[in-house]
Amino acid sequence: MSFKMMESMNFKATKRAFVTRNVRISDAKGYRSDLKPRNGDLCVARVSRIGHHQRIEQPDGRRARMFPGDMIIVAYSNRYATDQFEGRVPDSVEPCSLVAAGGIAASLISRHSSTKKPTAIEPLGILCRADGSAMNVMDYALERAAVGRAVRPHMALVVGSGMNAGKTTTVAAIIRAAKQASLKVGAIKITGTGAGGDLWFYKDSGAKVTIDFTDAGHAATVGLTLAQLETIAQKLYAEASKTCDIIIAEIADGLFQTETDLLMKSPRFQAMVDSVLFASGDPMGALAGVRHLRALGLIPSAVSGALTASDLAAKEAAKATGLPALTLAEFAQNEQVLSTIMKPARIAKTPVPVETVEGFGLAREYSDDSRFTAAS
């Protein structure tokens, strides 16, 4: 075992990344270079060359500048970003790349043609406890919250056509509208790559609870199984529902992204969703997205996103989809915007008995169709 004590380096001078924010770093007593990295393992590394990411986001959100020779603590994970990098967890502790400012170490597979080479890093090893066991962000994940309330808050889901479609801006606008309606709002990001930007945006918009997949123990969600993705959604929802009246959930990337696609097709996940908004950068994308969601059995309540920056594009989208195209001004001024957003995503054909639910038991509580009953 190649175990090196942490005292051998100036540990306090390391720059710790956002994705490690839930980790109790005092548990780290050393690092090992003989372990095979796993998704979520914490890695101490030296910056060897500055590339695309010149700063690293720290747990408090400050984006610290990096310089060659700086020591950083990041997490191994895969990365999927159509506008930036594709990366995977390397097979050994070897030179690799910083593929996300939130602190993701990965071997580069591909990058967008307009993106510079990633910042190069040389991992020293995987952080270990006194007994030599590897530290992983999953070790510091939220426990699944017990349900203490008889009711469950509405969950509005925001999905989009791809990166930069305006999903997070839409989530933030809904948060502000709900806050305006004197509601306690929870904002959860179920998939993506660990970074604080979206969570800070949610928080600044007035969300009472802001949590993401990193709180569920994943530095990034690319490559996770459906069961893992569902667990993330359940944990985050349960945590936010302890104190919030309404929960706004965001799923990263576009509907065709592998993990997004898995989740959106999952009956267990669909049954958690009360309403859906689709964010897109253009009307054609909006129509495709709305049709795709309907094919999956989900009825969006509205479209929004970057397309609504243009009145003409918003009108086109509304005409094409038959749904309201909600602009930021409407989110802010339309007193019925929450009613619009909350239009149900799924509706039963026939009345079915409703099961009495105790405890969290998602499989039972949200089993397909068990929540629906027609009133007339």
């Binding site: 309330r149 008889a150 009246d245 038959g322 019925q336 239009k343 054909k349 409703v354 027609a374």
Partner: protein, 296 residues
């Protein structure tokens, strides 16, 4: 209606063709709009558990801030516990600017007519019990509710007026809404006190609800006739009304110790929502026995 019609039009991939616009999902707050000309938006919450009988319905009327969704959110746990349905009409500023005074705004429908449209629509649903109308009005909602009873004496059966800001006094010398006198805002609609004999009416107000925030109407005439705070105004109105009502009917007033103004604080944090519902509901039958409870 238009929303779902749009979805249906020309589409064959919607999961349910025959969905209408009045489908309720149990255990969820639903945002719906009446189909009639008034197009009143409302939130409805139906309990997950079906008690095997038509559910009693409580209408909760929001105040000046139009926090309709918050009413639904706060009251849903009580709805679950009591096995009843909550309906919260949303009188928007744009359409129902003066709903507290039960007056129409411009060409928009009158709020009382819109509410009756909603009640009629809900009556079509078989497992809702609307044989009696029970309602609570908080703050501006309490204003609306007592004036609704004056305008429609046969409509409401039980009402709780929780901390209304001011009232219509049973005095013919003052024009409506201050009194029973003629007024353009009233038109030819008659006012009556009969509704206060037909209905059980309870006024609740916190004994610390004595602030004069901007949300309280501080008109000098109201101050003069009714007093300067919600507490004094409630006492003045109840006294005046009971003096006018026959001896076998009366409006009850209860001051709640230590309570200030604030819907969520009073209904949820302080727990007075339960008091309101106990006043409005019949005794709730026990839920049907489960196999587990039968075996034990």
């Amino acid at each position: 209606m238009a929303y779902f019609e749009k979805l249906r039009a020309g589409e064959d991939d919607i999961p349910c063709a025959d969905i209408g616009d009045r489908v309720h999902i149990r255990g969820r707050i639903m945002a719906l709009t009446t189909r009639g000309p008034c197009g009143l938006s409302y939130f409805i919450y139906r309990p997950r558990q079906n008690f095997g009988r038509a559910e009693q319905v409580i209408f909760s009327i929001h105040g000046y801030t139009r926090n309709a969704l918050q009413h639904a959110v706060v009251l849903q746990e009580l709805a679950e516990e009591k096995g009843m349905t909550i309906v919260v009409p949303h009188f928007t500023r744009k359409k129902f600017r003066r709903y507290q005074q039960v007056r129409s705004h411009g060409q928009n429908p009158a709020p009382d007519i819109a509410l009756m449209e909603l009640i009629d629509e809900l009556r079509e649903i078989q497992d809702l019990d609307l044989s009696t109308i029970r309602a609570v009005g908080y703050s501006g909602g309490g204003q609306f509710l007592h004036r609704l009873i004056m305008l429609h004496p046969d409509l409401v059966d039980r009402a709780v007026l929780f901390a209304p800001g001011w009232y219509t006094m049973p005095y013919g010398g003052y024009p409506y809404p201050l009194g029973f006198g003629e007024s353009n805002s009233l038109g030819d609609r008659p006012l009556s006190l009969d509704g206060f004999c037909n209905a059980e009416v309870l006024v609740l107000v916190g004994d610390n609800d004595t602030g004069r925030s901007p949300s309280l109407n501080q008109d000098k005439q109201i101050d003069f006739l009714q007093g300067r705070t919600r507490v004094i105004r409630a006492q003045t109105w109840v006294r005046a009304m009971n003096a006018e009502l026959p001896s076998d009917c009366s409006i009850k007033l209860q001051l709640l110790k230590g309570l200030r103004h604030g819907f969520r604080r009073n209904f949820e944090t302080k727990g007075y929502g339960r008091l309101v519902f106990d006043q409005l509901l019949d005794e709730v039958p026990a839920p049907p026995e489960t196999e587990e409870s039968q075996s034990s």
